[in-house]
């Protein structure tokens, strides 16, 4: 890995088709900065993207990447990382991809704790299908498919992660670019599943969870006066269960975390195989005597 990697090296020559002002621009820039800051380069980085506006991110970044099936980005990332632990694996998707169709995988990816990062662009709306409510939409949020509100509780992704034994639980705001990049960087550096829920506003279909709303309400747990210790599980739990505020920063981190692939004893890339049967292959047969 060369030290002269700049974050723009992770930019592809494709111009994003996101709406002007979309939070995903800031989210992506922060991801690229964090990757460059951690000494990665496009040739050792694998981005897995889901479906939706957020899923386009693999096209706009330059690295090894797979744009997968709706909701299944985490299992793909899991396979990539385990098969080659030398790669930097980052999975990106939206709130629909991660907490609705992919909610099952989210919980299991958290508890498996593979050493990769998961960046969720949470805009609390379905944008690409033009404005239906999402799993993180507020209960009274009115959309084309919820004219009288959703009548459902929004998912609390951080609480889900904590309940599943998450080892790195963070939240950021795409517009606070410096902090966002810092938080993603910490997720990358964490040995285990680095989960960052990013408030990434949709300027076209969500007139409730706007830039102004987040700017006005967000509290940074990293602020000195806030005095939050991310390794304090109980303190983190309290913040996560507090639904009256929007927090950003690393809410919880288990510093003893070790990635699943290491605990499973994976020592290196699984890419090389012999040209023929392994030398001891007949031993496999003799086991059946």
């Amino acid at each position: 890995m060369s030290s002269d990697i700049r974050f723009t090296d992770f930019k592809s020559d494709k111009q994003p088709t996101w709406c002007p002002g979309c939070g995903d621009f800031g989210t992506m820039n922060g991801m690229m900065k964090a990757l460059a800051n951690t000494g990665n380069d496009p040739d050792n980085t694998f981005i897995v993207a889901g479906i939706g506006c957020s899923g386009k991110i693999g096209t706009y970044m330059h690295s090894y990447a797979l744009h997968g099936v709706h909701g299944r980005a985490l299992p793909v990332g899991t396979g990539v990382k385990i098969a080659n632990p030398e790669l930097e694996v980052m999975v990106a998707g939206g709130d629909g991809d991660g907490y609705s169709i992919g909610a099952g995988h989210f919980v299991h990816a958290v508890r498996r704790n593979v050493d990769m990062s998961y960046i969720v662009m949470d805009n609390r709306i379905y944008g690409l299908t033009k404005g239906q409510f999402s799993p993180t939409s507020r209960e009274d949020f009115e959309t084309s498919t919820s004219p009288d509100g959703t009548n459902q509780q929004p998912v609390n992704p951080l609480a889900l992660a904590m309940a599943a034994g998450g080892t790195f639980i963070a939240q950021s705001f795409s517009s606070d670019s410096q902090r966002h990049a810092e938080i993603v960087q910490k997720a990358i550096e964490h040995d285990g599943f680095g989960f960052v829920n990013v408030y990434s506003p949709c300027v076209t279909f969500n007139d409730v969870d706007t830039y102004d709303y987040f700017r006005d309400t967000i509290v940074d747990v990293g602020d000195e006066e806030f005095d939050h210790d991310p390794t304090d599980y109980d303190a983190a739990k309290e913040l996560i269960l507090d639904r009256n505020k929007e927090y950003q920063g690393v809410i919880y981190q288990n510093e003893n975390s070790v990635g699943y692939e290491k605990r499973e004893g994976v020592e290196g890339p699984m890419t090389d195989v012999p040209d023929g049967a392994p030398e001891d292959a007949m031993d496999l047969v003799r086991e059946f005597y």
Binding site: D13, K14, P42, D43, N44, T45, F46, I47, V48, G58, T59, H62, S63, Y64, A65, L66, H67, G68, V69, G71, R72, L74, P75, V76, G77, T78, G79, V80, K81, I82, A83, N84, E86, L87, G104, H105, V107, H108, E261, E264, G265, V266, E267, G268, P269, M270, T271, V273, P274, D275, G276, A277, P278, A281, M282, L284, V285, R286, F288, Y289
Partner: protein, 589 residues
């Protein structure tokens, strides 16, 4: 075939039926006898009825028959379930002191041998060994030397200590001695032994071993009958080669993990059965259109939906050939025997990587739960070749970059196959996607590029059709008027059926097809035959439909879909009936 013996042990799930049967099968194998086993089992952990059946001969056996000579019955139901297979000379070993067998009487002319299994086991050291007492009794009944059991008992109980092994040996001897002393019994069987060394394995194990030998390093799966044995085989072995087994949260995840590992450059595989294939179908199109080499093993069971999870069927053929929306090529391989499960698995990995295509490797329950003996040389490791296809490295990558230095993972080539750059390879960074894409792997809706990409993916099939061997296996009389075609696991039963039909004066040419797509064109064979019969374990004749379509000719069908595999004797009768039916139809016409 020389004389064969059909033996079974049956009782309730939880009675230790499987391990008891396997000990006997292994002992026969160690004695240089061929063995072919089958299981009756239900989807429950305790109770019900389950049986392990062993057919043995000094000649190779590849099928079961409708005949049971010696039955160890731990429950009355075991006898009732097997009345069709039992005959006048059958011997039933049971424990009349077991409350549920106290009023048991052997039906008809068959002979019942009441052996106090539990009491003798207690004499040997514990009631838990009652099945081993029964094995000893069965040795006495069949004339099989009890010493052969010893090695099998050592293998099974060796890790539990010397004392346990010795107790089990004693238990077996007490069973044998009881029969010798209490019953005036001279065995009608001559269980000849040989000096041959055989190995004993089932189809799932053969697939697992094939995967290891082929260099599979990543397996993700979700447990499901009857595919779980593949996963259990690999777990604990694949690690020795630097690989891993990941138990996923569901099949959706399993195939996506396997896909991820394959994109990372590992030889990767998942195995499941019908319900799992349904879930994996979601991702199948992505695997195919992102041109990711992946082996998807489908060990079929009876469907649809939950169907009959512990019963045999070959009902997923159409699902594998056509499953998923849109149009996308895939290969479908169907090994026809247990040893072929090994060879075809290796082939599946090579095909997947050479053509960057998903390969369905399909077994079925009959192959999965059957253990069969083979000479070890049948798994010829020297013949194994690994072909990873068009993998590029940093030295050659510039040949596959565009003018701005971007790698082209979906380059349009003459043979349809594009270069493959493993992540980590300098200059090879690229994306792929389930969206239609250009040569760079980036979304496109350009009409010309759409056609180029669809055509290049299809062209891989044409390339493979030319370059690879998609032939069938042929048995019987090549000049016979009657052609029988089958696919997958029916081969063994059909081969024995041919012998029986031949003895009755009916000549058969039998073509056993291990390749479903691409597949051999049978037009000429069908043209040359007067009658063609397609044999398969499903109701509608899915392969027969394909054969008719290929050859533009009608065929007769022999189908079985009651959940039980074809048996050789039954299949011979079905073929005769199908041929007789033809004669009648002609008379009517």
């Amino acid at each position: 075939m020389s004389e064969d013996l059909n033996w079974a042990v049956g009782g309730e799930a939880g009675d230790g039926i499987d391990s008891t049967g396997k000990i006997f099968a292994q002992a026969l194998s160690r004695a240089g006898r061929h063995v072919f086993t089958s299981k009756d089992f239900a989807s429950r952990i305790r109770g019900g009825y389950t049986a392990y059946k062993v057919r043995t001969s000094v000649d190779r056996i590849e099928s079961v028959v409708d005949r049971l000579d010696i039955l160890i019955a731990l429950t009355q139901r075991t006898v009732e379930e097997n009345l069709d297979e039992l005959h006048d000379d059958s011997i039933v070993i049971y424990d009349g002191e077991r409350s549920m067998m106290s009023d048991f009487e052997a039906p008809g002319e068959m002979r019942g041998l009441d052996v106090p299994l539990k009491r003798l086991a207690e004499d040997a050291g514990g009631a838990i060994m009652r099945n081993i007492v029964a094995l000893g009794a069965a040795c006495a009944v069949s004339g099989f030397k009890i010493e052969y059991l010893d090695e099998s008992l050592e293998k099974r109980f060796g890790n539990k200590g010397e004392a346990i092994v010795e107790n089990n040996k004693t238990a077996a001897r007490l069973g044998a001695e009881y029969v010798d002393e209490e019953y005036d019994f001279s065995t009608p069987y001559d269980l000849e032994t040989t000096d041959n060394d055989y190995v004993l394995l089932n189809g799932d194990e053969a697939i697992g071993m094939g995967a290891l030998v082929a260099g599979c390093r990543f397996y993700a799966g979700y447990p499901i009958t009857p595919a779980t044995d593949v996963m259990e085989y690999l777990k604990g072995r694949i690690e020795d080669y630097g690989g891993i087994v990941v138990q996923a949260e569901d099949e959706l995840s399993a195939i996506n993990m396997a896909l991820g590992a394959a994109r990372a450059g590992a030889r990767s595989m998942t195995a499941t059965s019908g319900p799992g294939i349904d879930l994996m179908t979601e991702t199948f199109g992505l695997v195919a259109t992102s041109e990711t080499p992946l082996v998807i093993c489908n060990v079929m069971r009876s469907g649809p939906s939950t169907g009959m999870p512990t019963k045999q069927e070959q009902g997923d053929l159409n699902g594998m050939l056509y499953g998923g929306h849109g149009e996308i090529p895939r290969f479908v391989l169907a090994p026809t025997t247990i040893s072929e499960c090994f060879h075809k698995t290796i082939e599946a990995f090579n095909l997947a990587e050479k053509y960057q295509i998903p390969v369905y490797l399909t077994g079925d329950l009959a192959l999965a739960v059957t253990e069969q003996t083979f000479p070890p040389e049948e798994f010829d490791m020297d013949a194994v070749e690994i072909d990873r296809g068009k993998v590029v490295d940093e030295g050659t990558i510039d040949e596959w970059q565009n003018e701005t230095g971007q790698f082209k993972p979906h380059a349009v080539t003459d043979d349809g196959v594009s270069p493959r750059s493993f992540p980590g390879t300098g200059g090879g960074a690229h994306m792929s996607t389930g969206l239609e894409h250009d040569e760079l792997g980036r979304r496109t809706e350009d009409t010309e590029m759409r056609i180029e990409q669809v055509d290049k993916r299809e062209r891989k099939v044409e390339t493979a059709r030319e370059a690879e061997d998609w032939s069938y296996r042929e048995f019987g009389d090549p000049d016979a008027d009657t052609l029988v075609v089958s696919w997958g696991s029916n081969e063994g039963a059909m081969r024995e059926a041919i012998e029986r039909l031949d003895a009755d004066g009916t000549d058969i040419r039998f073509v056993s097809v291990p390749y479903i797509f691409p597949r051999p064109d049978l037009s000429a064979e069908i043209e040359a035959a007067e009658e063609t019969i397609v044999v398969e374990c499903n109701a509608t004749g899915q392969f027969a439909d394909i054969v008719e379509h290929d050859a533009l000719s009608r065929v007769k069908r022999v189908n079985k879909y009651n959940g039980v595999r074809f048996k050789a004797d039954e299949l011979a009768e079905e073929i005769e009936a199908a041929l007789g039916g033809a004669a009648e139809a002609e008379v009517e016409a």
